[in-house]
């Protein structure tokens, strides 16, 4: 046998034992009606085939959660990536001083605990005494009950998520920006390119592989929205911020409907896989052959 096999065997065994076995088990679980009664006595377990999946399709709560998650992904992910890029450009600019300090400050939200941050943000969003409400009042805008109004709760969550997460992607963008050779900008300037033209024709194309990576990771991360609504709104008001993962958590650990929860997990897995493959097929992500990166 190829000796290389023995080198990868420990890692393969670990992955097999701690990843593939549980995944196979939960796939099996998703075909049963495992619930609180089955915990008491396995004789109460029924094999239900694809009924859990069928039930999801006709469950309004699932579609609401899917819609909420899509909202968060479609609005939140590009906003997060754009903010990261803007912050990275700011840190790369010659006009800005105290870069190390700014970089640290921008990165701070990433390393703080969300639960602690949520307390502060709940205060920020308070409809009567919160600073945001005061600001709106001073500007003569109508009062907004950020976390209590179904129309504003998701934007409030997105704002928090962008603030909390943009620092991480920013660091990756900063590295990507530093990898762009200075001579390309020199050449562009000699050709009389304006700052905007340099950004459009040098920075963006050279940054394409980085952007692809960041966008894909952000999309995947955003599909798994959980902690923000869990600590800020518990999925409310109404169902306005109930994400797929939050729904899965409630089904699984609050109501102990593990069969149903496992089915949700596999549907989410399928969605993320499909979106990633579609993005790749569309040439948006990951597949950069460098053709467009050539200035």
């Amino acid at each position: 046998m190829n000796p290389a096999f023995w080198f990868v065997a420990p890692a393969l065994a670990a992955i097999g034992l701690f990843f593939f076995v549980p995944v196979a088990a939960s796939l099996g679980l998703s075909l049963t009606d495992f619930d609180i009664y089955s915990v008491a006595d396995l004789a109460n377990l029924r094999f239900v085939g694809l009924a859990n999946y069928g039930r999801l399709l006709e469950d309004a709560a699932f579609w609401t959660a899917l819609r909420n998650t899509a909202y968060f992904v479609v609005v939140g992910a590009p906003l997060s990536v754009a903010t990261s890029l803007a912050a990275a450009l700011l840190l790369g600019s010659r006009l800005v001083r105290w870069k190390a300090l700014l970089r640290t400050i921008y990165f701070l939200p990433v390393v703080t605990t969300l639960v602690a941050v949520a307390v502060v943000w709940r205060f920020l969003y308070h409809p009567r005494v919160g600073p945001l409400a005061r600001l709106f009042e001073a500007l003569g805008l109508p009062a907004v009950d950020w976390l209590g109004d179904p129309a504003f709760a998701m934007p409030a969550i997105i704002l928090l998520a962008v603030w909390k997460g943009f620092g991480f992607n920013m660091v990756i963008f900063v590295a990507g920006l530093q990898a762009i050779p200075e001579r390309l900008y020199e050449a562009a300037r000699l050709d009389g390119a304006s700052a905007a033209q340099q950004f459009r024709h040098v920075t963006l194309p050279m940054l394409a592989p980085t952007t692809s990576f960041v966008l894909l990771m952000t999309l995947i991360g955003h599909f798994q929205l959980f902690a923000e609504p869990y600590v800020m709104t518990q999925g409310g008001p109404g169902d306005a911020t109930r994400s797929i993962v939050l729904l899965m958590y409630e089904q699984g650990f609050r109501w102990w409907s593990l069969g149903q929860a496992a089915a949700i997990a596999f549907v989410l897995f399928g969605i993320i896989l499909a979106v990633s493959l579609a993005a790749r097929a569309a040439g948006l992500l990951g597949g950069g052959d460098g053709a467009e990166a050539r200035p």
Binding site: V39, A40, R46, R122, P237, G238, F253, W255, W256
Partner: protein, 427 residues
């Protein structure tokens, strides 16, 4: 490693053995007791008295936060990591009985000569399932009205009304006087209890056919549902979410609303958070009923003490639970936590008897009804809160909400129907 002589191994194992023996000499393992939230914090103060009275027994209290308690208990059951005894929210008892996690206590209660009639009926009823008692009531909990006596008096109601029609008139008068867009009544939209209490007052059965199907489109529940929604439609109650509840006490003090429905923990909270001079301006009243003659029903809540069926120390753990249920300990626990004793005899304590705000609870505790005692209830109840909120916000009509509730409840009860049919088939 691996070089040690056999002799040194012998010495090491000898030392370990000695250590183990010494551990043995310190007495048996302590009774593991889990309690939630503030109760878990303050109950430690009762441990020394118990240990002094029962030499050789020790209690270790583990505090579990309420927000994670249900998940943690279920996980502990599955992982066979349950304590010996625990505090259980009364609505969780059916679930853990269905799991077979709890030891029946009927025989032990009789052997101990604990007088059952001393407990409030509604509270003890919550712990009785299928004719067997599975827990000892620890503290009683129910919901009633907290109101601003001064605001009601200004609006011309010196005495608190006792029926719903009179309360509505009073609330409307308060609302009319508050110019700044204030409201009269706070009914938190995340709570399922207010609409359910109104339904129980209508005499509505929440489920039908032996708790096999939802019964929410029935005339009784429908009437209660419309009553509940009318508080919001008439502008008496604000459609605010849970995030604003954090400021309940400040808002109550500011007169943003004149009354709210809540439980006994607010007695302590209001006194702790608001200045002392505010004490004279608020009061409590039993749930209004259909007439002035008698207070309305409310929900039996609270927590009980349960013994874990798989515990190896049941006898010792039972001594601890019986100790906590003694009237003197109920009084001591009330002083520590503010929780209301589940035994009538504990209410002879002057601190409770002379507190006019606790008196309303004493009245209410005689007028209780339990929610359906099935494991699925919590889940169904969460949908009641959800659909009530949707109906209040106008996302669905009253009719749609009730139809959806019945549909969802029927689906959640499908497994129960199957289990019941199977056990009847076997018989």
């Amino acid at each position: 490693m691996g070089r040690g002589s056999p002799l040194s191994w012998l010495a090491l194992s000898g030392a370990l053995l000695l250590g183990a023996c010494r551990g043995e000499a310190e007495g048996p393992a302590p009774i593991e007791f889990w309690a939630m939230g503030r109760e878990g914090e303050v109950v430690r103060a009762l441990v020394p008295a118990f240990e002094a009275r029962n030499p050789g027994l020790r209690v270790r209290v583990q505090q579990v936060p309420w927000s994670a308690a249900h998940e943690k208990l279920l996980t502990a059951y599955v992982g066979e990591a349950m304590p010996d005894a625990l505090q259980l929210g009364n609505t969780w008892i059916p679930e853990f009985v269905a799991l077979g996690a709890l030891e029946p206590l009927g025989a032990r209660i009789d052997a101990e000569k604990i007088p059952r009639e001393d407990f409030f009926e509604g509270v003890l009823d919550a712990a009785e399932i299928g004719g067997e008692t599975f827990a000892l009531p620890w503290y009683a909990d129910t919901r009633l009205l907290f109101y601003r006596a001064d605001l009601l008096a200004e609006a011309g109601f010196a005495e608190a009304p006792r029926s719903w029609p009179a309360w509505r008139a009073a609330l409307a008068a308060v609302k009319a006087r508050s110019a700044g867009g204030g409201h009269a009544l706070l009914l938190p939209l995340t709570e399922w209890e207010p609409p359910v209490i109104l339904a129980l007052q209508q005499g509505a059965d929440l489920l039908r056919d032996g708790d096999r199907y939802g019964n929410f489109a029935s005339p009784g529940f429908r009437a209660a549902w419309d009553d509940y929604l009318s508080f919001f439609r008439e502008g008496l109650a604000p459609a605010e979410g849970a995030s604003q509840l954090a400021n309940l006490h400040q808002d109550f003090a500011a007169g943003w609303f004149a009354a709210f429905v809540s439980g006994p923990w607010q007695l302590g909270e209001l006194r702790r958070r608001l200045p002392a001079e505010f004490e004279a301006r608020w009061a409590t009243a039993p749930m209004p009923g259909g007439s002035e003659a008698e207070p309305g029903l409310s929900l039996a809540g609270g927590a009980s003490l349960a013994l874990v069926a798989r515990s190896p120390r049941k006898e010792a753990a039972w001594r601890w639970l019986a100790f906590l249920a003694e009237p003197e300990q109920q009084v001591a626990f009330h002083r520590l936590s503010g929780d209301l004793p589940a035994r009538r005899s504990a209410w002879r304590d002057p601190a409770l008897r002379e507190d006019p705000k606790a008196a309303a609870f004493f009245v209410q505790l005689q007028h209780l009804r339990s929610a359906p005692k099935i494991p699925e209830w919590e889940r169904i109840a969460s949908r009641i809160a959800r659909h009530a909120e949707a109906a209040v916000r106008g996302e669905e009509s009253s009719e749609e909400a009730l139809a959806a509730l019945d549909r969802e409840a029927d689906r959640m009860l499908e497994k129960r129907r199957w289990l019941l049919a199977r056990s009847e088939g076997r018989r």
